[in-house]
């Protein structure tokens, strides 16, 4: 009989959906008598009580802190305190920009078992086993945690379907204690797209990645996009280099192309962060010289080949 601790995530007053996914994920390692304890931390954390009262959450701890949003020192201190209190066998934290900032300090200081960006959890006998990707997602890696009584894992978004049915956890309220913050949140800045197209609304995208090699090649693919009536988008390195505007970047730190039905991925390897913006698209066609590129694990159609050859052939057949 043990506890599984789930840390909810919210930002600017909105609960992030991954919180409910982790409650579902916790069920997959719940054993007879175990309890799933969900904690939500923030100055206005109590506003999330009803949203977090879902099936699978046995207890809900509302931790009132001095910071409305995430703060690495406060979160680390609160979660360390909860671990002492609840002695969980596992702590599930969303793998996100927030957890990048404190999960490692939390685990390192207490010597807990630790794995990040986990997309599967299971028991093999008495051993908790976590699966994550390796070598740019080309392999899967199963890890375990010999001798660890508490294991901290950060869990990838979309690894589990969210727990959505109403539940009735026992709710308790505590105050965050003893953690002084050494950083101060000032402001949020949203980079507007200016007059550029809103790529979240378009239904057909030609998207280029680092495979295009040089800036001068962007024009070729813009021509192709124009010719077939698609919107030209890109992976992050292309936007970082300034070859296309940031508003065209698909992915975790770019846009989720929610309306897209056909996505032609040219020279994109398929990193987790890129896929976060497009893996839902029903028809993905990927062209990549590397047969092992992870984009082929989510594409509907794949071509192992050179994007320049494909481009040239498409243009000549379309002419």
């Amino acid at each position: 009989m043990s506890n599984i601790l789930v840390i909810a995530e919210h930002r600017s007053g909105v609960l992030r959906p991954v919180s409910l996914e982790l409650i579902a994920g916790a069920q997959t390692i719940k054993q007879a008598g175990d309890k799933v304890v969900v904690a939500v931390i923030g100055a206005q954390a109590d506003k999330f009580v009803s949203e977090l009262s879902v099936e699978g959450a046995d207890e809900l701890v509302v931790v009132k802190s001095t910071s409305v949003d995430f703060d690495p020192d406060i979160f680390e201190g609160v979660v360390a305190g909860l671990i002492q209190d609840k002695a969980p066998k596992a702590v599930l934290i969303p793998h996100s920009v927030d957890s990048y900032g404190y999960a490692a300090t939390l685990a390192a200081k207490a010597g807990h078992g630790f794995a990040t960006d986990v997309f599967k959890l299971e028991y093999d006998g008495a051993d908790l086993v976590a699966t994550r990707g390796g070598y740019n997602q080309k392999v899967n890696v199963e890890v375990d945690f010999p001798g660890k009584t508490c294991v901290v894992v950060t869990v990838r978004a979309s690894a589990y379907k969210p727990s959505e049915n109403k539940g009735s956890p026992a709710v308790s309220n505590i105050d965050a204690t003893g953690t002084a913050s050494r950083s101060q949140n000032k402001d949020y800045i949203e980079l507007g797209g200016g007059n550029d197209v809103d790529i979240t609304t378009v239904d057909f995208i030609v998207s280029v990645g680092r495979g295009i090699g040089e800036e001068t090649n962007v024009e070729d693919f813009r021509e192709l996009a124009d010719e077939v009536g698609a919107t030209l988008c890109c992976s992050r390195p292309i936007a970082d280099a300034g070859w296309l505007p940031k508003s065209r970047q698909v992915g975790q730190s770019g846009k989720v192309v929610g309306n897209c039905k056909l996505y032609l991925a040219m020279g994109i390897s398929g990193s987790i962060q890129h896929m976060a913006g497009m893996k839902h698209v029903p028809t993905i066609v990927a062209v990549n010289t590397d047969p092992g590129a992870s984009i082929f694990t989510i594409a509907k159609y794949g071509i192992v080949g050179d994007i320049f050859d494909v481009h040239e052939e498409l243009m000549s057949q379309l002419a």
Partner: protein, 265 residues
């Protein structure tokens, strides 16, 4: 004034790689090594701060934990302008996890006493996104992850950073310094090494440190100290991609058909 930049030599897989017989890693023959992409940006950020304050003496020190082959990546950093390079290694370090590497880097930081510490957000091979922040744990320093913008006057006791959140939203944060910051892609435009830089780098020494130099023992590193252990590595199922075979003309024709199907629907 000193800025310390922690860097990693990452491994990418050759196209036809094989998993080792013990199924714990890829056979070393199929690994291609290079400096981690994120580290190009954190080194550049240190160089930017140095060059923007010509009146302040600023030393940029790159540090890596790894075997001999890592010298090549450190040499690349020296060629881009880093003043010193330190490589920490002992055979006992083999099998260490990100947290143990973070502990070793922290020990170097304690010895070097820099005013600012950078690491990459993550490494492109195993993407733990943990090493830099674990290092902060052993230093007790303020820390922030995924920094996409930095305003910092050399030696100041605070900096203004922008953390890049999901959806491309930035969060402006004021942080006490010295701090450990993990630097995000796109924060600057990394330079290429100049020919002159490459020549100069060849003459600069790379300091080789052992565990003794950082006051650590073999029992604190390696697989036995790790927070997790690899049980098995395997190639995942290829999923549902239907490969379009044939000549390039046939492949292109099929793409056009798919586009027409979509437009007809």
């Amino acid at each position: 004034m000193k800025i310390l930049v922690a860097v990693k030599q990452v491994a990418a897989l050759d196209e036809d790689f094989e998993i080792r017989a013990d199924e714990k890693d890829v056979d070393e023959d199929f690994l291609l090594y290079d400096l981690n992409e994120w580290d190009d940006f954190s080194l550049e950020e240190a160089m930017r701060i140095k060059e923007e304050s010509p009146d302040t003496e600023i030393e940029v020190v790159v540090v890596s934990v790894g075997p001999d082959r890592v010298d090549e990546s450190l040499r690349k950093c020296l060629a881009k302008g880093a003043d010193r390079a330190i490589r920490v290694w002992d055979d006992a370090v083999e099998g260490s996890d990100a947290v143990a590497i973070g502990k070793m880097l922290a020990a170097v930081v304690k010895k070097e006493a820099p005013d600012m510490v950078f690491a990459g957000v993550q490494s492109s091979d195993h993407s733990h996104a943990s090493t830099g922040i674990a290092m902060a744990a052993y230093l007790g320093l303020p820390h922030a992850a995924v920094v996409a913008d930095l305003k910092y006057s050399p030696g100041s006791n605070k900096a203004t950073i922008r953390r890049e959140l999901e959806g491309g939203i930035l969060q402006e944060v004021e942080i006490a310094c010295p701090a450990v910051l993990t630097i995000q892609l796109g924060i600057n435009k990394p330079r290429y090494a100049s020919l002159r830089g490459i020549k100069q780098a060849a003459a600069k020494p790379i300091e080789a440190w052992g565990l003794g130099d950082i006051g650590m023992s073999a029992s604190e590193v390696g697989e036995a100290s790790a927070m997790s252990r690899v049980r098995r590595m395997y190639v995942p199922e290829k999923g549902r991609a239907q490969m379009i075979e044939g000549t390039i003309a046939q492949q292109a024709a099929r793409i056009i058909e798919i586009i027409k199907e979509f437009k007809g629907a």
